[in-house]
């Protein structure tokens, strides 16, 4: 029996600077079998572990079709992420997972998809965007609403042009504010500002929402007002996690374990649960 608390060695193949404090790390398990068996659902997460420092959970940001390697996009906000940010190509780290439920890919086929996301929330639905791109005929329209605090804080900015070029796809961006001297041709305001001009009609749509809780709270309110039903909204939640397998207890949300039952939940599943700001 494999110990679920054991981690596997992965080598860093590439480091992409996304913003001043966010990097995408492309990795590959050293063990070939582990790498070739590593498959995941968009929205699932992994644990990255540095002995002596600790470990933390991160969404997988690479495409599900890529079996050669995988990536995760990490903002430097604390002890563990700060240490990971010091790592470079060729360095080795420990990785475990994947964990959790992902975005409901089965339910998305044939639907118009809306992705509403903020800041460092984009890496979680990014594999969905790539998947839709690779299976474009299986899905209806795709609309991505992405908000950040400033223009410089946009992750995967290098890829956004390609998303715009996808068939029947719309990408709308906004920022909370534009620093002096910075050019910005998109909207200014919080993410819900983008909802005002959204083109997706609720009738045959599903919305995937990922960002800070306060953002998700207002996005849910807004989309409900625009005719979305509670069953059409999916959210990816953040919680403190220490194990990923519903044993450490930290991620409990009422009767749910966010690591096992989530992190993606249908809004109707978590409505009214305590200690949740959505």
């Amino acid at each position: 029996m494999k110990d679920p608390y054991e981690r596997d060695v992965a080598e860093i193949l590439g480091v992409q600077l996304e913003t001043s404090n966010t990097k995408t790390f492309v990795m590959k398990f050293l063990d070939e079998g582990r790498q070739s068996n590593f498959s995941f659902i968009p929205g699932q997460f992994i644990v990255i572990s540095i002995p002596g420092v600790g470990e933390a959970m991160f969404s997988i940001s690479s495409s599900t079709s890529n079996h050669e390697n995988f990536s995760t996009t990490i903002r430097n906000v604390g002890r563990v992420t700060g240490m990971i940010h010091k790592y470079n190509v060729g360095d080795r780290i420990l990785v475990g997972g994947p964990y959790g439920s992902g975005w409901p890919m089965g339910q998305l086929e044939g639907k118009d998809i809306m992705i509403v996301t903020g800041g460092i929330g984009l890496p979680s639905p990014r594999p969905v965007i790539n998947y839709i791109n690779e299976h474009r005929r299986d899905f209806g329209s795709l609309e991505i609403l992405y908000g950040t605090r400033t223009p410089a804080e946009s992750v995967f900015a290098w890829e956004q042009e390609a998303w715009r070029k996808m068939e029947s796809t719309r990408l709308a961006l906004c920022v909370d504010y534009v620093p002096e001297g910075v050019q910005w041709e998109h909207k200014v305001g919080v993410v819900t500002t983008l909802c005002e001009e959204m083109v997706t009609k609720p009738r045959n749509a599903v919305a995937l929402i990922c960002g800070p809780e306060v953002m998700m709270h207002f996005v849910v309110l807004d989309l409900l007002k625009r005719g979305f039903h509670e069953d059409q909204l999916y959210l990816s939640l953040e919680r403190r996690m220490r194990c990923g397998i519903a044993q450490c207890g930290h991620c409990q949300l009422g009767p749910k374990f966010v690591c096992k039952d989530g992190p993606v939940f249908r809004y109707s599943e978590i409505m009214g649960l305590p200690d949740c700001g959505i």
């Binding site: 608390y5 002596g52 809780e213 919680r239 403190r240 220490r242 450490c248 409990q252 374990f257 305590p274």
Partner: protein, 340 residues
Amino acid sequence: MTNFIMPEEGLEHLIKTLCGSYEVFGPVRKGVECSFEKITSAKDLWLDYPTTILPPKKFFTPPRETIFTFKEDKISKIEDMIPEERQILLGVHSCDMASFTFLDRVFLGFRSDPRYLRRRNNFLIFALTCKKVSETCFCQSMGTGPEAPSGYDVLMTDIGGRYLLEASSSGGNALLGSLGFQQATVEDFEAKRGCLESLKGQFKKAVNRSGLVELAYNNQEHPVWKKYGNICVACGQCAMVCPTCFCFDVKDRMDLSLQSGERYREWDVCLLLEFAEVALGGNFRKSRDARLRQFMCHNLSYGVMQYNLMKCVGCGRCIKACPVQIDITEIARELREVSS
């Protein structure tokens, strides 16, 4: 399965025989309190103990345990996490027996934790019918006592000057069979029934379980949370002594050389401020009301939704440990009787 009757003097023979091939732990007096400790003689035992300070979960998921050690880049797994010798935990009350079923579902259900599994399988369990009911006991109302729920290898009941020993596993059966005690009679079982009946009349605390899962789940804004959240000092003792509280933190520790260290896990409790903290100062349970509600609702409601089993087993340890007299049975009552 065979059942035996053991005269009181036979206890020393039993313990000595068990100690011959097992490491044996049992309830030992510590001042006015009791603790499960290693024993070598019947004289070490306190068999009419009230409840132990720490529940027996400490044997299966210790307060602190190493997950792995590392030196420079090399990770070493912990292979010898349990002793070679098999172990016996003797004198487990019915509430604590019920806690094992819950813990098994946590640590062996969704994913199997090899540490827990190896420890758990290394133990034979000798359950013990309570001799008396403590002020804080309410197992009867939780359906976990005073009759011991299944899961033991042997059940011991003091039926007045002699013990009825009931085997419930092949291991327990073989052990008892080797001791040379006489087989139990119908009268002995009658005597046990009498003991249980007398226990049932002694309970001072109770929880009305009818519809409790929904009641707690649907009353997240009930005034009871504010009322008790205001006096809770968030010390977390309730969860530390709870036989079914399983939460732990995972931490790394480096040696001074910065060359080697260990990753370990350590009991953690949801009453503490840091428990639900995330990056950038986020905290999903900042208020004591919310943290107290989490502990209480997990025990009275969510546990059933997660594992199809009430988490609270009615041992009363949290009531006894609380420095400000917060009483889970009182909270359950107020949830029902005080309108929100």
